[in-house]
Symmetry: C2
Subunit: 474 residues, 2 copies
């Protein structure tokens, strides 16, 4: 029999992204691209990347350790841990098993969950799974923990500036300040080859950029229709953009987010022209008879709808764009980095507000869903979450690499992908205290990690292996 | 708020394995291994494998299409579909998205779920996720569908005879004839390198056979302790082997299943010596003071415990060993192939019986859980499930390849793994009607599948693309 948990959702969040990054304006100049191609054309400011010291495993170890410590959660209280990622280091062994090291040393090996995979959607799948577990009859009263971790890298060429890297950890349980509205969920899944990774020896994807953008917008339309239809069944009235305070979109690059919001605005206009106001109605009218297919390709519609949606974009979407613009595409973590950008801004003003989320993973999987925000009880309160996230300080303490040094790092990483029998460099100066890093990969491909010593004046450590290698399980 | 669904579990099952197989006795002779090394040492009879026409995607398409048709389930009634697999064809695009083709043509794209990954445990993770969904507040009243699909292949050497291939589909919902006892669940997860796939360009794993066996038995002990402790809390009495009619184990090779059951028997003895009977008690007494570590390595204990457990093995375990011995290691599908072997035997005698399941995936993840069996309502009844599975006919209609032809096929498959721009052979004569097969992979790595024409005298087809290529989504 199912249990009756109330307000199941996200109790706590932390984010980690590498301090190493490259400025998009400098990169577009270095690449010989036209001025503004990356900064305005893509809408991106900066891009984080992993050096040879970091990878999706080390970032996950860092963010999980940090979350447990900062919210004072005993690792023995975690009953489920799952990971969403599309960055494959091993095709069989889940990233989750590497994270078990944090829990094993305290004797907690009773932790369900593995890795979920479908491009950038894996984190959303993991989140849904974890929430369902808390609502299921097999829930044992402990917390769930969801980790989204990815390193997005592209071969030299037009897609390269759409990279990024980050890991996010979310603690799941009932009575959450960030509660799921579980009946509002619109899903669209299909078989397409818009972005995929069939070249197993390479970290780089095969991308059809134009197809991927169209697939994204078609999926958005389909999810929005289903989301609206469920809202209407539940609330007995039509849903429109005005029914939510914020939107957070999966963000491969900011320009697509601008287009997406304009697309939702156009959807509202098509369903109920009067909902968008007289001026917008007149401007959009010429496009009302376009077929669905035509509308995805129509540049005038794209421009006009972005223009008329601009002021609503500024209030409802812009607050979510900080981290995706500064850190880049974080794949599974991207949507949740957009969401925490909203929290970072003004937690006190968020009480009672709805946030509509759109998750997209190529291939393709997509869902639109929503959260209802409430204050919550310390340490699981919106204000404490914003404090722990500490987004401004994390952004300010980054190290901007020259494009040349970025390209050089990418070359080394290409060489290292899938490799064995190497030791990483000894200079850890750019890592923040508490950061986990890769020390070596042995001749059997076994990976060894250590943690940079935590500044003990500032905080206590929850794990005991400072500057020592973690066990390697054999 | 969580819903209150009763007896959530498996409503329907189907299994598919390639008709192509090799005889283990012939293989051990061909390999120059000592007589009985594969058949008695490993306990295996036969091994299925994919030729260039089949892979984990085609096997999934085959088994899902077959299940929907044979149980008369409208594809529009599926609300969740998830896949467990450790056979990576694409590192980003989930196998689930390929399966969406079956549903898209009927307009159903509203299907949650992606792929779950951790070695042989991914199918269990997918199953738990799907059951939790039915019990969650986001359940929309439709069926869940879980697919376990894998092709287990090894480099030439001692591990090669432990391969296999299969796909299993399970329909999930309330009021199931195979219902979860959701409060009885013992999980053990840890970070180990017993079996993993870090060589991304190769389909073959890195295996430490001895470590993997010890990890398996340690995980079994840990899960059994937790399972027993939950049973005792719930039922107020000690659990022992006698409290279940059957056991099904993840089965890399049958010998390990024999050892595993003996290990549980030894556990029962250690917890309550009198529970095993006087003769066994006397025989096991000399080992009672061994440390846990010593007990995993003690050959005498292994022999003696197998001997004293033999008669119980024959009643409680042997019925589950048919398919794992005949088809080989099916990775994520292995445990569920063991389970359906029990159903196949004598469905009418199973009413009210408990089956204890042990799922293990290297790396490692493991859970012991249990089902309670009841008749069920047609078409979701134990007897109809046994009829649909049609195990005997499937086994009888196989084509036994010579070891030479098997080795030759493996060589071609090595070459084909991760490759692009090729067409498969045109001879489909060995495929059963209704089987999906790979026709080609184009220069962009896009994969094309077709279905061998279904014998329309025997059954109706649920999908309409007989002998035609499926759409490729763009």
């Amino acid at each position: 029999m199912g249990s009756q948990q109330k307000d199941v959702g996200i109790l706590a969040v932390d984010i980690y992204f590498p301090r190493t990054c490259v400025d998009q304006e400098a990169l577009e100049a270095h690449d010989g691209a036209s001025k503004g191609k990356y900064t305005i054309g893509l809408g991106q400011d900066c891009m984080a990347f992993c050096t040879e010291l970091e990878d999706v495993i080390s970032m996950s170890l860092t963010v999980v350790t940090s979350l447990l410590k900062k919210y004072g959660v005993d690792p023995r209280l975690i009953g489920r841990l799952e990971v969403g990622s599309e960055t494959v280091i091993d095709k069989s062994k889940s990233i989750k098993t590497w994270l078990m090291q944090i829990f094993e040393e305290l004797g907690n090996t009773d932790i369900e969950g593995v890795d979920s995979t479908n491009a950038c959607y894996g984190g959303t799948a993991a989140l849904f799974n974890c929430v369902n577990w808390v609502e299921s009859s097999s829930w044992d009263g402990r917390y769930g923990l969801v980790v989204c971790t990815d390193s997005a890298v592209y071969a030299e060429g037009p897609a390269r500036p759409t990279g990024g890297a980050a890991a996010i950890a979310m603690l799941i349980g009932p009575n959450a300040p960030i509660a799921f509205e579980s009946k509002l969920r619109g899903t669209h899944m299909a078989h397409v080859y818009d972005f995929y990774k069939p070249n197993l020896a390479s970290e780089y994807p095969v991308v059809d950029g134009k197809l991927s953008q169209t697939c994204y917008l078609m999926a958005l339309d389909s999810c929005y229709r289903r989301f609206c239809s469920k809202f209407e069944k539940l609330e007995g009235k039509q849903f429109s953009i005005s029914d939510t305070a914020y939107f957070a979109f999966h963000s491969p690059y900011n320009k697509l987010v601008q287009k997406s919001f304009a697309r939702l605005y156009f959807n509202d206009f098509l369903r109920n022209a009067s909902s968008v106001g007289k001026d917008a109605m007149e401007k959009l009218e010429p496009f009302s008879s376009l077929s669905s297919d035509e509308s995805y390709q129509n540049r005038d519609l794209e421009k006009v709808s972005q223009l008329v949606a601009k002021s609503l974009y500024d209030t409802k979407v812009q607050p979510s764009t900080l981290l995706p613009k500064q850190v880049g595409n974080m794949y599974t973590a991207s949507l949740y980095a957009a969401f925490v950008s909203i929290l970072h801004g003004k937690p006190s003003a968020l009480r009672g507000k709805r946030v509509v989320m759109f998750s997209y993973g190529s291939g393709l999987s997509s869902t639109m869903f929503s959260f209802r925000l409430q204050d919550g009880q310390h340490p699981f309160s919106l204000s404490n979450i914003a404090c722990v996230l500490n987004v401004s300080e994390k952004l300010d303490s980054r190290h901007i690499f020259s494009p040349e040094k970025f390209v050089e790092t990418m070359k080394l990483m290409e060489h290292r992908y899938g490799a064995k029998d190497f030791v990483t460099c000894s200079d850890k100066s750019l890592l923040a205290p508490g950061t986990f890093y890769l020390t070596k990969v042995d001749s059997m491909y076994r990976r060894y990690y250590a943690q940079k010593v935590v500044d003990t004046d500032k905080c206590r450590t929850a794990v005991s292996h400072e500057n020592g290698s973690l066990l390697n399980g054999h």
